[in-house]
């Protein structure tokens, strides 16, 4: 579905992402992990063309740089980690923007628009709140609103940049479960940047560990989450730390 070839991003003399290449197949949920400054979010931005990058990215065989904005957004959806809302749009208005790429002009409405918007609102449990102002939503509800927008967009590939970074446990679980359900559909794939290694292990089907802009390991969960690799990149005994954390829960 996605092929990334030698992607490199530099700001002046500083190289943020260095020769990153990988392929993504249908049905995969690729977890991109790594310490701060590893280039994880930059990789997501470089794939969508939001930052200038060397190298090439192919989505379903097409070079994304040659694709029009609408065409790309019909195939690739992006969910950012946080959203600042300035105006009192309703939940439905924000979700409806997800259908922008399907209706060519202001007067035309894609035949499946109403259905797609309603389905996205229902799937994310926001149908009853559809007329509510987004300024009155909690952080979790706002993130679900934008997830609903992405679902309404109906892309094949979903790129998530730390989607639950500011959310409490309940919303973290909700968002990840919703994405897992979404991935069960035909011809779907997900790439997400995740800080929390436990979440990455629990939901990913494959992982890529980045450090200093380079791919350290890309492969199965057991290969990437091996002790020596993690300890080397994070400069600490990751397993020991995780076990200590879990032990607290077992004791109580």
């Amino acid at each position: 579905m996605l092929k990334v070839e030698q992607l490199t991003v530099s700001y002046g003399d500083r190289t943020i992402l260095n020769n990153v290449s990988f392929e993504l197949m249908t049905g995969e949920w690729l977890m991109i992990v790594g310490p701060n400054g590893a280039g994880k979010s930059t990789l997501i931005n470089a794939i969508t063309g939001s930052v200038a990058a060397k190298g090439r990215v192919f989505f379903e065989g097409k070079d994304v740089r040659t694709m029009k904005a609408r065409e790309l957004s019909r195939g690739v959806g992006v969910l950012s980690q946080s959203h600042y809302m300035g105006y009192a749009f309703t939940v439905e208005e924000v979700v409806r923007l997800g259908r922008y790429a399907y209706a060519p002009t202001i007067f035309s409405r894609h035949s499946g628009e109403e259905q797609a918007v309603r389905a996205a609102l229902e799937k994310t449990g926001l149908y009853e709140q559809r007329r509510q102002s987004v300024l009155t939503l909690s952080g979790g509800e706002l993130q679900r609103t934008f997830l609903a927008q992405t679902f309404a967009q109906d892309p094949k590939l979903l790129l998530l940049d730390e989607p639950t970074n500011h959310l409490d446990l309940v919303y973290q679980k909700q968002v990840f479960e919703l994405i897992r359900d979404w991935l069960k559909q035909k011809d779907r794939a997900v790439i997400s940047v995740v800080h929390d290694l436990s979440l990455a292990r629990a939901y990913g089907t494959r992982a890529m560990l980045l450090d200093k802009g380079q791919v350290v390991v890309d492969g199965t969960m057991s290969k990437v989450f091996s002790d020596d690799v993690l300890n080397r990149v994070y400069h600490m005994d990751v397993r020991d730390w995780m076990t200590q954390m879990l032990a607290q829960w077992k004791e109580t």
Binding site: L72, F89, Y100
Partner: protein
């Protein structure tokens, strides 16, 4: 529809009321006869209405509608409630052109009264080229911060040059001061046609991009994610807003507050969706400026106040009242 009906009623009211009040029925009759080329009734009413008041009121309505539409568009595009059509700096450029024309008595051969207007338009266009050229050179992505920063810097630069010109303007100082405070006194049907043409062309482009403005108002990054060609749309809208503002400033001078406050008021009533906000702002801006003009020319009759002074006073009070009411209602 409600806003459109209010605009028509305000238009008729503004035409009726003035230093010489003309009954409503006579006003409608004179305008009707004028539109269809029928023989006019006796007396001074046709002359007052058709040659003086109607073109002025129409120009006022179109300028108000244009300024308000531009304000609504800029507030959405830049996701900044403090933005308006003048944020980009083009209106300062246009003002500079007009001040130069008044100070040095620039005239156009065959069109002795059009010098100020044409100079303002030329300067507005040149300002747009300079501002966008600089913005591109400094930041290829045309980011919001770069646009605002360059707009502010350019406005300050243009104001400085304007101050120098005013310093050496001698006996033209009074005309310049009056013009900078905004006035639509003495506007004619030619001005109305130019304003209408600009509103149809540039305003049409702005209205056509209501969905994209919704996406920008949610967030530029989000707009890109849902498929908006961010750089292209931003450039189109900036050119449309600048073109419309340039024409308005060239005819009516600097009229503040309309573009900033009217979209705010309308947003509180119809919400932030630009499909409703922009058409409502268009009519509300027309109503607001027509009422301001009515006050400007009748309050201290026979003296006339600069319209910009009235818009600022009314706008500030109305805004505080509506904003306060909306917060109580929450």
């Amino acid at each position: 529809m409600l806003f459109a009906a209010a605009a028509v009623l305000t238009l008729l009211l503004s035409v009726c009321v003035g230093s010489v009040s003309i009954p409503f029925r006579t006003t409608v009759s004179v305008i009707w006869r004028g539109v269809w080329g029928l023989p006019q009734m006796e007396g001074t009413a046709p002359a007052i209405l058709l040659t003086s008041r109607l073109p002025r009121v129409l120009a006022v309505m179109l300028v108000g509608a244009s300024l308000s539409l531009c304000g609504g568009a800029m507030q959405g595009l830049l996701k900044n409630p403090l933005a308006d059509g003048s944020t980009l700096g083009v209106s300062s450029g246009a003002s500079l052109g007009a001040v130069v024309a008044i100070a040095f008595g620039v005239t156009i051969p065959g069109m002795p009264f059009a010098g100020t207007m044409v100079m303002a338009m030329v300067f507005a266009f040149c300002s747009l080229l300079i501002i966008l050229g600089l913005a591109y050179r400094l930041d290829f992505s045309l980011s919001t911060n770069t646009i605002i920063l360059i707009g502010v810097i350019f406005s300050m630069f243009a104001s400085s040059i304007m101050s120098i010109v005013i310093t050496f303007s001698g006996e033209k100082l009074r005309s310049i001061t009056f013009w900078t405070m905004g006035s639509l006194q003495g506007t004619n049907y030619r001005n109305v046609l130019v304003l209408l043409g600009a509103l149809v062309l540039f305003g049409g482009v702005i209205l056509w991009h209501a969905r994209e403005l919704n996406a920008f108002a949610v967030g530029e990054e989000n707009a890109r994610h849902v498929g908006v060609n961010v750089r292209r749309v931003k450039l189109i809208l900036l050119i449309a807003v600048s073109g419309l503002i340039g024409v308005c400033v060239s005819i009516g001078g600097t009229i503040g507050f309309v573009g900033l406050v009217t979209p705010h008021m309308v947003r509180l009533l119809v919400g932030p969706n630009h499909k409703r906000l922009l058409p409502a702002s268009l009519f509300a801006g027309g109503v607001f400026l027509m009422l301001s003009d009515l006050i400007a020319r009748t309050l201290l009759n026979p003296k006339e106040l600069p319209i910009g002074v009235v818009t600022s006073i009314i706008g500030a009070i109305a805004f505080v009242y509506i904003y306060g009411s909306s917060r109580k209602g929450r």
